[in-house]
Amino acid sequence: MTPFVADLLIPVGKIIAVILYPMIMVMVMIWLERRVVALMQGRLGPNRVGFQGVLQPVADAAKLFFKEDIIPRQADKRLFNISPILVMFSSLLAFCFIPLGEPLRVGTYTLTLWIADSPVGLLIVLGLSAISVFGVIFGGWASNSKYPLMGALRSVVQVLSYEIPAGLTVLTVAFAARSMDLVEIVRRQESSGIWYGFLMPVSFVVFWISAVAETNRAPFDLPEAESELVAGYHTEYSGMKFAYFYMAEYAHMVLASSLVVLLFFGGWLPPFQGVKALAFLHAVPGFVWYLIKIMFFLYLYVWIRATFPRYRFDSLIRLVWKWLIPLALANFLAVALVRFLR
């Protein structure tokens, strides 16, 4: 393993992988969403482009690529152009800290399945995903038209207020795992034999609701409520800029699902580890389990979108300040108490 390979080829390879991974997941998500919502509504959904419509996302991307990229006349050009990049940048960067599995031993070299692993990986991921709010605000404001402005304002209040319950529940996990390092948290779940999702169900439910709200997904999709704000903060965007917003939303969904899986459902651990009889499940590589769990949560996202009506803005805020935050606080105290007594 010459240094040239170890210090250059492998990191570059991993970086390319980290960029490709969300892109592929976004493509899968676009297809999954349109198919699943369609099937739930008694229709087939895209099945023309490629086998069962698999190439539909590629067709969409190509369409958006060639579409005219309109900038409204009085728009604030600089902000208008920066916001899609900001939104996309924050989610891609966060993926560097998402571990996909145990490090692999290749000969003498250990290939770590993540770009960077820091003792506060959890905080970094949460912080980065909060940057996308800037993109939404600048986008809404720079479009210089009323609907996007309203969409952006709604999004700001919504995302910020849902950060609090998310943060609190994440703290309970950090408390239980006694570390903020994502890899450490998964290993801790392995050693303690129980996944935090079952240990602290309340934390999981509250975190899941906040994750859905933070990614502006139904039933909390007020910032881009089609039937009210036409298309919310990205009404004025078209062409590749709109594609960025579109892909960033799905990337954030994948990011949120990965967080839920890592924190509450033991990342790449096979289910029922303790049970000796099911030991053969260990043969399946960690990465596959990780993908299966993520796909379940992505399916849940779409399932919820096809079923529920949309919250009104004040009931959404009342929900978080009157229900989720007190619940998260009480749960945090309970976990702290249990930790202290043990």
């Binding site: 039933p219 409520a225 039937s227 979108r305 079923t307 009506p309 009104r312 004040d314 009931s315």
Partner: protein, 364 residues
């Protein structure tokens, strides 16, 4: 810093204005201060056109008023002409008209359920509502060949007879609709998000509702039992027994509940009408060219959207001197500002959906 309200423009191209309606909203950061509907984008000058057509030629144009319930418009106009000309309609034709009008009410309410749920976010209900409605449109297609602008009711009777094959197919459709309706009800009736978006929203008291001229489901949602089929029965509606669903506090949820109940009642009516279908002709003996002596007639029916009335004045020729249509959506839309004032912007969409307006009927 002086307070300045935003003037927000909703429409005429907007996903949830049910047609080309433009609402000028005065908004203070999402709280609605005032609404001024701007009409006329779909004004085709129907009433002027009618004055240049013969009585018979006007019927296909009435399809285009409330294009989601064309048979009801036909029925309203045709009954007024028959009263003016004093034409006696055979009982079989009256029963077939009741079957068609009630099927049309089912189709209109199912389409409405889809639109309103989609406005408030439950996008799948739109597909379920339309799927159920599709079966009714197939019945219309089989009966007279058209699905939306049906023009199946003529002056003097109906366009075709109903044979036993069609009767059995209608009965199967009547059994399928409650199943689809059950899905919609489970999805929405008890759902907490749906209730938060609709209970207590756009509330109007009974006295105010009557003063605003509200008619149809929005009025019955306030507990006012005014249903033209019961108050002034027409086209042998008196022979059928059905109840008039009423709400209690006249909010968006009660209008939703009243319309879903009415679907159940309409199924009952069609069932009874098919059971008691009398024998006999389905069309009265009509002169080749219908000339009506000078006079005036006014007749109202209970259309899916509310009380639909026609005033026709004749001058002895085969063309009406003046036809004035009283449109339920036109009058119901007037109370939108009263219901929306003080609510949030997203409620405007819900309240507008609950009024179930159609712009073809408003703009004429």
């Amino acid at each position: 810093m002086a307070f300045k309200e935003i003037e927000l423009n909703m429409g005429p191209q907007h996903p949830s204005t049910h047609g080309v309606l433009r609402l000028k909203l005065a908004v203070d950061n999402e709280v609605v201060l005032g609404i001024e509907p701007v009409l006329g984008y779909l004004h085709r000058g129907m009433e002027k056109l009618w004055e240049s057509l013969t009585y018979v030629q006007v019927v296909p144009l009435t399809d285009r008023l409330d294009y989601l319930a064309s048979l009801s418009n036909n029925l309203g106009y045709v009954l007024t002409v028959e009263r003016l000309a004093g034409i006696e309609i055979p009982r079989r034709a009256q029963y077939i008209r009741v079957v068609l009008a009630e099927l049309q009410r089912l189709a209109s309410h199912l389409a409405w359920a889809g639109f309103m749920a989609n406005d408030i976010g439950a996008m799948s209900v739109l597909l379920y509502g339309f799927e159920a409605r599709e079966e009714i449109l197939d019945i219309f297609e089989e009966y007279c060949g058209a699905r939306l602008t049906i023009h199946g009711i003529r002056i003097g009777g109906v366009i075709h007879d109903i044979d036993t094959g069609l009767v059995s197919r209608i009965r199967t459709v009547l059994t399928n609709i409650p199943k689809r309706l059950a899905d919609i009800r489970t999805l929405l009736d008890e759902n907490r998000i749906w209730k938060q978006r609709t209970v207590g929203v756009g509330r109007i008291a009974a006295a105010e509702a009557i003063d605003y001229g509200l008619t149809g489901p929005p009025l019955r949602a306030c507990g006012v039992a005014w249903d033209m089929r019961k108050d002034i029965p027409y086209s042998s509606y008196g022979d059928f027994d059905f109840d008039v669903p009423l709400g209690r506090n006249g909010d968006v949820y009660d209008r939703y509940a009243v319309r879903l109940e009415e679907i159940g009642q309409s199924i009952r009516i069609v069932g009874q009408a098919l059971d008691g279908l009398p024998e006999g002709p389905f069309m009265a003996k009509m002169p080749r060219v219908l000339k009506i002596a000078p006079g005036e007639a006014f007749h109202t029916i209970e259309a899916p959207k509310g009380v639909l009335g026609f005033t026709i004045r004749s001058n002895g020729t085969d063309k009406p001197e003046r036809v004035k249509m009283k449109s339920p959506s036109f009058i119901n839309l007037q109370s939108l500002e009263h219901m929306c004032k003080g609510n949030l912007f997203s409620d405007v969409v819900g309240i507008l959906g609950s009024l179930d307006i159609v712009l073809g009927e408003i703009d004429k």
